[in-house]
Amino acid sequence: MSAAAWRPAPSGTLHRREVVAALLADRGDPLVVAGLGAPAWDCAAAGDHPLTFSLWGGMGLAAMTGLGLACARPDRRVLVVTGDGEMLMGLGSLATIAVQAPPNLSIVALDNERYGETGMQPTHTAHGVDLAGVARACGFASAATITDASRLEALREAVHRGVGPLFAVVKVAAEKPPLVVPPRDGVLLKERFRRALLGGASGSASGGAAAPPVL
C-alpha cells in the first residue's frame, strides 16, 4: 500500500512511513539502527537492507547501539531511527551521547505520543515532555522538532552530511500502517551487517578491525 492512499496526517504531524522513506531513499552511506516496534517496521517497509540493524528487544538501547557503531566507524554516517517510547526508556543515553559528541551520529525519534505495540497508550510526550528539549539541554549540537513535511529534505541533508550529533523529533500521526517486519533472528541481523560492512573475512567471530596477538 502506498502512503498516498492514506488519509492526510493530522495537522502538525507527518506519516511515519513517508518520513523514513525520505530519509532512506538512495540511502548511500548511512549505517542504520532501528529501534524496536514501529520504527523497525518502518525501516523494513523502506526496504530490507543488510546495513540496517533492527532491534526486536533491548528497549532503550537503540541510541547507544548507534553510539557504539559511530565510535567504531568514524568514517561512516550512523542513523538511529527510533520512537518516543523507546527513547524515553533511554533518556540517560542522550546525556552520554552528548558528552561523547560523535559528529557522525544522528538520532531521529518518530513521535506518535503512543506505545504503538501495546495498545496505543499515551507516552509522556503526549503530556508535553519535549524530547528535543532534553537533547538540547544535554548538549546536542543540533536538536529540533519537526511538524511539517517541508522540513524533511533539510533533515535528510543533515543526517547525510551535517556535523552531529543530531537529534530530531518528527511528530507523526498515531496510525498503524501495514506491518512489514525485518528478519527477527538476531544472529542473522548481526552477521549480515558485519559481513556487508567489514567484508567476508571479517564476518567470522575472530575477524574485525583488531585481531589479538597470538598468546
Partner: protein, 370 residues
C-alpha cells in the same frame, strides 16, 4: 611466591638420574618406571630400594591414585625423559615414611598450563603435608621452561583438597558440573604472567585489554575501578565512555561489534542489576561481552543496600547466560580477564569477571554516604 626448592638434579631429564625436592618436613622423589613397576607389583622391598621410602606391606596407594598407577608406569616407560612431569612420591624426612603422592599431568599444554594433583594417606591428613608437598611440585613446574600457570581440578565435596588449592594461592576460575563424578572446581595460579603485586592488577588488565584489541571501554564509575578508568582515559588508543546506567554499555558494545570494534565494560556489582533486559539483546544476537565487575556487599560491607544485588550478581549473570569467573586475589585478576577476553571475542560469548571485595577493599563512609 617463594623460590622453587632446590632440586638435587637441576638438569632433570635422564631416567634413573634421580630427581628429588626437599621442603622443611618432606622429601619428594620423582618416580621412575622401575619404581612405578615395583608399586604396581606390590613389592614393598623393591619400592624401598628404588625410592628410599618405607611403605607398609604390601604397599597401598593413597586415595584415588591406584587406578592411575599403571598408566603412569606406561608413560614413564615410553618417555623416561618426562621424569618429574608425572608422579612424585612424598615422604617424611624424619622417618622416611610414605605420606602420599603429588602429580603433574605431563608437560604443559599449548597455553603453558600444567595440571597438578595430590593425594595423601588418610592417616597423614590434617598436618599440612599436602599443601607443603604440592607447593614444592607447583614451584618446580613453574620453574620449568614453557610453564606459565598451574591448574588443579578438585572435587567440590572435598573440602580438604579445596583448602589446599586456596593455600597454594590458587583461585577458582571455574566449575565443571560433571554429573558422573560430581561437581569439580577448577583452580589456577600463575607467577610468570601475573607477578604478585596487589596494587598492579588494573595496569595488567589495561595491558590485556590492549593486547586483545579493545578500543572502547564503557563504565559506570566504581572506586574499585578508579585506577583502570584513569588508565583508559589516558590511553590514546582507547575511547573511555562514561555511562549513566550499566545497561547503556550493552548497546555500546553491540554497536561496536557491528562496526568491527571491541568493547569492554566496567561496573560495580549493583550495576549488574541494571543489565538484565539488555543482556537478552546481547544473548539473542551473540554479541561478545566482557564485564569486569567489582564486588560490593561482601565481607566487611558497611552499606546494607549494596548487599542484595552484590549477593545475587553471579547468579543473575549465570541465569542470563553469561560465563562467570571470580578473582579472589589481585594476582588472578588479569589472568582471568585474559581468559574472558579470549572466550568472548573468539567465541562471541558473554563473559564476566567478578573481582572480590577482598581484592579492592571495603568502602568506608568517613566522608558521608555517596
Amino acid at each position: 611466591m617463594p623460590e622453587a626448592p632446590k632440586a638435587d638434579a637441576p638438569e632433570a631429564g635422564f631416567a634413573g638420574a634421580g630427581l628429588s625436592l626437599e621442603t622443611p618436613r618432606l622429601r619428594l622423589t620423582a618416580l621412575t618406571r622401575d619404581a612405578l613397576q615395583a608399586w604396581v607389583d606390590g613389592d614393598a622391598g623393591r619400592l624401598r630400594q628404588e625410592t628410599g621410602v618405607f611403605f607398609g606391606t604390601p604397599p597401598t596407594c593413597p586415595p584415588l591414585f591406584e587406578d592411575d598407577l599403571p598408566r603412569f608406569r606406561d608413560r614413564m616407560a615410553e618417555t623416561p625423559q618426562e621424569l618429574g612431569w608425572w608422579v612424585w612420591l612424598v615422604s617424611r624426612r624424619e622417618d622416611a615414611r610414605a605420606v602420599g603422592v603429588c602429580g603433574l599431568g605431563g608437560r604443559p599444554d599449548g597455553q603453558g598450563t600444567a595440571v597438578l594433583g595430590y593425594s595423601v594417606y588418610s592417616e597423614m591428613e590434617g598436618r599440612g603435608y599436602a599443601t607443603e608437598a604440592s607447593r614444592a611440585v607447583m614451584d618446580w613446574a613453574l620453574s620449568q621452561p614453557g610453564v606459565t600457570r598451574v591448574r588443579a581440578t578438585v572435587p567440590a565435596w572435598n573440602q580438604a583438597s579445596v583448602a589446599v588449592a586456596r593455600k597454594l594461592g590458587m583461585v577458582e576460575i571455574g566449575r565443571d558440573p560433571n554429573p558422573e563424578v560430581g561437581e569439580t572446581l577448577i583452580f589456577e595460579t600463575s607467577v610468570r604472567s601475573a607477578p604478585a603485586d596487589p596494587n598492579g592488577w588494573p595496569d595488567r588488565v589495561h595491558a590485556a585489554l590492549l593486547a586483545f584489541g579493545v578500543s572502547l571501554v564503557g563504565y559506570v564509575p566504581d572506586a574499585g575501578h578508579a585506577r583502570l578508568i584513569e588508565l583508559c582515559h589516558a590511553d590514546p588508543g582507547v575511547r573511555a565512555v562514561a555511562l549513566t546506567s550499566e545497561k547503556e554499555g550493552i548497546g555500546l558494545a553491540a554497536g561496536a561489534w557491528l562496526g568491527g570494534a571491541r568493547a569492554a565494560l566496567l561496573m560495580q556489582s549493583s550495576g549488574v542489576g541494571n543489565l538484565m533486559n539488555a543482556l537478552g539483546m546481547a544473548r539473542e544476537c551473540r554479541v561478545p561481552l566482557v564485564l569486569l565487575v567489582t564486588m560490593r556487599g561482601e565481607e566487611g560491607e558497611t552499606n546494607p543496600w549494596q548487599v542484595p544485588v552484590g549477593r545475587s550478581a553471579g547468579a543473575l549473570l549465570t541465569e542470563m547466560g553469561v560465563g562467570v569467573v571470580r578473582a579472589e586475589a589481585a594476582d588472578a585478576v588479569s589472568l582471568l580477564v585474559e581468559g574472558a577476553l579470549a572466550r568472548a571475542f573468539e567465541g562471541e560469548s558473554m563473559q564476566a569477571v567478578l573481582i572480590a571485595q577482598s581484592v579492592i577493599g571495603v568502602k568506608r563512609f568517613q566522608e558521608g554516604p555517596r
